[in-house]
């Protein structure tokens, strides 16, 4: 009959030995799984204590295995200019100053990124030397404790997180009679939070200064003069729930 269901297949009869063997295998498998999970937990806990102690929340060793260096941006003021020759058109001077702004902003940002945000640059004059003219390069090493987070920063801090707000830059261009920007000054304020390596406290860091740039003749700008100050203030450690947002406030 077309609508007749296929009868269920009869289960094969099993011997008592076979049934016992199946039961034993099942028990062993369960034990192995439980032991495996316990071992895995022990390994996870071990790794956590080895690599993740002191970090706030999350699964630290996962994040520390691939650390990302944070970036930041400046809020810019309208560039200013100082003409070296009288009777130059204001609109052309403004245009020349505006043209120089992105390059100066970029170089300033890269210097601070290399010296402050990236832990590899802390206390390392070599990591920022290329930003300076030959004359100024000789002054980088003697001032490396301010131009970067400092030689002892690696002993004191684990990370540096730039603030998302409060970083400002004001550029003044020195413009010659041919409307070339011959020099540019960048006044900046740069803020961030350094996580102390004690794992419990943080430091608010504020870097302010003026960098004087000069074209190097190869389309790049170098720092010929600098005046930089850094202020560090111990910062109350954030509570666990607030830590994520406060670090970059």
């Amino acid at each position: 009959m077309a609508n007749e269901k296929t009868p269920l297949r009869d289960t094969a009869p099993t011997s008592p030995e076979r049934a016992q063997k199946t039961a034993d295998r099942s028990t062993v498998a369960r034990r192995r799984i439980v032991v495996g999970i316990i071992v895995a937990l022990v390994v996870i806990a071990g790794l956590w204590f080895l690599f993740g102690r002191g970090e706030d929340g999350g699964i630290p060793f996962i994040s520390s295995s691939a650390p990302e260096v944070p970036t930041f941006h400046f809020s810019k003021a309208q560039p200013k200019y100082e003409a070296l020759q009288a009777h130059l058109a204001k609109a052309k001077l403004e245009k020349a100053a505006k043209h120089a702004l992105p390059t100066i902003e970029k170089s300033t940002g890269q210097l601070l990124q290399a010296g402050y945000v990236n832990p590899d640059g802390w206390g390392d004059a070599g990591s920022i030397n290329d930003f300076f003219t030959d004359d100024a390069k000789a002054q980088v090493e003697p001032n490396v404790d301010t131009l970067t987070l400092g030689k002892s920063a690696s002993d004191q801090f684990d990370t540096f997180t730039p603030n998302k707000k409060g970083n400002t830059i004001k550029v003044t261009a020195l413009i010659d009679g041919n409307l070339n920007v011959t020099r540019a000054a960048a006044e900046f304020t740069f803020k961030g939070t350094a996580a102390n390596s004690d794992g419990t406290t943080k430091s608010k860091v504020t870097v302010t200064g003026t960098l004087f740039f000069v074209p190097d003749g190869n389309g790049d700008w170098k720092i010929e003069s600098f005046h930089v100050d850094r202020e560090e203030k111990p910062h109350k450690a954030p509570s666990a729930s607030a830590s994520a947002s406060e670090a970059t406030s």
Binding site: E82, G150, D229, P234
Partner: protein
């Protein structure tokens, strides 16, 4: 069964992990007091001229009127030799009275300020070189209107007036005064009320230069970007052979030369009449001072002879 067991174990581990993390997190929050206090740091570098070779710049003030005579074709009514020793951080401003009767590089003998209308700033510089034996690296030329503009553009100049001066339009009492461009010009040009006339006027012009040095140093220390304001105000109003790179290094050098390390003096001489015109006969004793200055760029105050005090105008 296995799935149930796994779920239980994972749940348990999550609970344990969360508890442990939570405990550590609470510990972090509890330690509100920082473990150490950090200090401020400062980095500073300004390119500067260095070396033991002195630098000489001839500072000239033209009497040209805008729209009448070009600045470099006027008479150089103000003449100062600026000598700088970068290594010793010393300088000297050596004034030469405009009425000094000297051989001109352009030929003949005349008042020293007469060389520029004939041969421009170069001829004036050559005349002073011939007179003093000092070889100049650069010159800076300005004028009445330009001085006024420059001072106004930097926001005025604080001049420490050593003694009360009655000017053409106003009196300048002794002491520190913030002057406008017009006031600085008036103070610098005043001659008739001064005891030693042209000699004192030249000295007062040196006082203005030293006041500018002091003010620039103070402003730069507070705000380095003021350098550009000064450079702009200066270069818009002067004619000079000093390149911008050198000017920036000179500005850097100025940071290490306070006004107390700058000697301000005027050439020795006597006032006389040549026909109807008032002239100055320079003393031969000036040669020793110029040789001293040519050697290292400066003259110490205690090296100036008492005879340097010039005679008053008749």
């Amino acid at each position: 069964m296995i799935k149930k067991l796994l779920a239980v174990v994972l749940g348990l581990s999550a609970w344990i992990g969360g508890t442990v993390a939570g405990t550590i997190g609470n510990g972090t929050a509890a330690q509100a007091t920082p473990l150490f206090k950090l200090e401020q740091a400062h980095a500073d570098f300004t390119p500067s001229l260095d070396g033991t070779t002195p630098i000489f710049i001839l500072l000239m003030g033209s009497d040209s009127r805008p729209g009448v005579t070009p600045m470099d074709k006027g008479r150089s009514d103000s003449i100062h030799i600026l000598g700088i020793n970068p290594a010793e951080h010393r300088a000297t401003v050596f004034g030469i009275p405009r009425d000094s009767w000297v051989p001109l590089a352009t030929g003949g003998t005349d008042k020293i300020n007469a060389a520029m209308p004939i041969g421009g700033p170069e001829a004036e510089m050559q005349t002073v070189e011939n007179l003093t034996g000092i070889k100049f690296d650069y010159y800076v030329l300005t004028g009445f209107q330009q001085v006024t503009q420059a001072v106004n553009q930097i926001g005025g100049l604080e001049v420490n007036v050593p003694y009360s001066v009655v000017g053409y339009k106003q009196t300048f009492p002794s002491g520190l005064h913030r002057m406008t461009g017009q006031e600085v010009l008036g103070y610098s040009r005043t001659r008739h009320s001064l005891p030693l006339g042209d000699f004192d006027r030249s000295l007062n012009q040196g006082v203005v230069l030293l006041s500018a040095l002091t003010q620039f140093r103070n402003e730069y220390a507070k705000d380095p970007t003021r350098l550009y304001d000064w450079l702009g105000a200066g270069l818009r109003t002067v004619q000079t052979t000093v390149p911008i790179d050198e000017l920036i290094k000179l500005a850097g050098l100025a940071q290490s030369i306070p006004a107390t390390r700058v000697t301000n003096l005027v050439a020795m001489g006597t006032s006389a009449m040549n026909g109807t015109q008032s002239i100055v006969n320079l003393s031969p004793d000036n040669q020793a001072l110029w040789q001293d200055m040519a050697k290292d760029g400066y003259i110490l105050k205690n090296a100036i002879p008492k005879a340097a005090t010039p005679a008053p105008l008749p």
